[in-house]
Amino acid sequence: MPPKSIKIKQSLQRYWRHNIRITIALLFVWAIVGLGCGILFADFLNEFKVSGYPLGFWFAQQGAIIFFVLIILIYAVLLNSLDDRHSREIQDLTERDPEV
């Protein structure tokens, strides 16, 4: 069985990898919605209409901003629970072996 210090290190590494994965996934959504739908595909999307809104125009002046707020909300929820999980894990490890 590996010593506790290595387990803690592994937990920290897993935490960081998980964090990076969440961050990259959300930044991907950010880029698709904001820079993609709002700008790069705006002329194409404008051919579709949702009630009185041309879709590209809607993304550029309304939709992207709503998505941005949601992205940060999801990030805060996911990362704070990840923090909880790993800090509890590390807490448990150190408490069982206070010398580490």
């Binding site: 920290l12 935490y15 960081w16 964090n19 961050t23 959300l26 930044l27 950010w30 904001g34 820079l35 709002g38 700008i39 790069l40 705006a42 002329d43 404008n46 949702v50 009630s51 009185g52 809104y53 041309p54 590209g56 125009f57 809607w58 550029a60 002046q61 309304q62 992207a64 901003i65 709503i66 941005f68 707020v69 992205i71 940060i72 909300l73 990030y75 805060a76 990362l79 704070n80 990840l82 923090d83 909880d84 790993h86 800090s87 509890r88 590390i90 807490q91």
Partner: protein, 609 residues
Amino acid sequence: MSVREWTFLFVALSFGLYLLIAWYSRVRDTKGFYVAGRGVPAAANGMATAADWMSAASFISMAGLISFMGYSGAIYLLGWTGGYVLLALLLAPYLRKFGHFTVPDFIGDRYDSNLARLVGVVAALFVSFTYVAGQMRGVGVVFSRFLEVDISIGVMIGMVIVFIYATLGGMKGITWTQVAQYWVLITAFLIPAIAISIRLTGQPLPQFGLGAPLLEGGYLLEKLDLIHADLGFSSYTSPFQGSWDKANVFLVTLALMAGTAGLPHVIVRFYTVRNVRAARWSAFWALFFISLLYLTAPASAAFARYYMIDSVQNKTLEELPEWFNNWEKTGLIMWLDDGDGRVRYSAREDNEIFSYKAGAVAVKGTPVTLDQIRLSQKEWIDSNGARGQDWRPDMRKAKLSGPDRDIIVLATPEMAELASWIIALVAAGGLAAALSTASGLLLVISSAVAHDLYARIINPEASEKKRLMVGRSVIGVAVIIAGFFGIFPPGFVSQVVAFAFGLAAASFFPAIVLGIFSKRVGTVPAIAGMLTGLGFTSFYIIASVYWGMEPWTFGVLVHGVNPQGIGALGMVANFLVTFVLTPFFPKPSAEVKNLIDSVRKPEITSVLG
């Protein structure tokens, strides 16, 4: 009560409230002064960040810009909100974990160099001073338009108020005042927007109203497109018109996004919350509160655009609405008739709607006043062209065609025929927006000089009491300098504010992101990257704005790169230089590695630890 009396009442009440809050949140130590004792709850910090962020320009000018730019107005909407995603995901929680007072602090410690710290201080000072001068001017403009007070006196009143609450309460006083200022400014922005939305579309939510049919039939946006085509303006909803091609919209938006994330007065707000989890929530609340204004501004823009054209086009002098006559006095909108007695507003040569700017039109070197133009135009009409002058060609040449953009927000309450107390509320809102941003920036200036320069570089042994005194004095001096710029604005201020974003994008943003996410990037490559980004961006801006350099097309773009968007390329240059140099320079020291490790650890929850 008249509009003027209501305005006096609201301004006096709101200023009294700010001073009262300042008195209750006065501080005694540097921790309270720079980071509000790290005791600000997440939602309150979000609100303060939103007020800090939304400046006089966001409040007064943005909706106007959108209403004249149509789709392309999205550069501001996307840029100034999308930046918060970068800030929330890449910077805020880590910088809070790092837990110092300022941005140059992080740069200096992470890259283990006082030179890096100094570059940070200079960039922070430059960005903040250019920005704050515009705010002070905004205070003066609101005073002069609504209260008919001289601009200089308006600026001075603003200076005194900011001086009192910023020196007394530092970050703590500023934070709680900003919370109050948020409510004043958002109420002042939303009420007229909702009222005009109901009036035009019957929808109480402006966001739905924008996509809804008008009460008189036909979708608002479709009708606006038709009117625009009719009058020779470019389409309201179609993207990429004129010089705003896809490449430029993309680059400018990206530069504003990265710049937003790199602006020191926004970043420091995240140092004031209790812990990392609060920093994440606070970023969410900040964008949530900001989005209330940013989702409403495009609606106000389209409503006011439609309403403005509809209520003046083809009208005779007797038929013109009251708001038109009120604002014609200020010169923000003026009608120079061709003699047929009917208003014609168009993008063509027959346009009769202009705005007046002092000194923009001159005869033989002598500036012509608003009244002189009006009298001379009237004489020209009355005498059938024998005397006087038709000023329209001159005004067109001076690029004064169409009304002033600020009128969109300033006159909306009157267009919607709202009660005079709501019109007065808009004045208080504009002042709240300007004052809250100005105070946040002044604190950055104070911390850059008193903390980074004085306490960390010049006199590291200074006592707590002395540091606090230096911090307070610097704010005092900075208020006076900012006020001076507000009274005697250097002509470049309005351009420079937009460029502050480019510079922040090209210097701070890459340096901080790499500082957190790379353990390999060392001192020399980072400083070289920052200097490259700063140098490249400022060269392009200065050369194209002042030396008349042709914008670069790189052989592929149809229109050259807009100077506002060059920060995006400066940022890429910064990243590239840093990456290329990194393998040739030593790795960061063990101490710095420990610092990075500590920033990347999950926070031990307070319940357990």
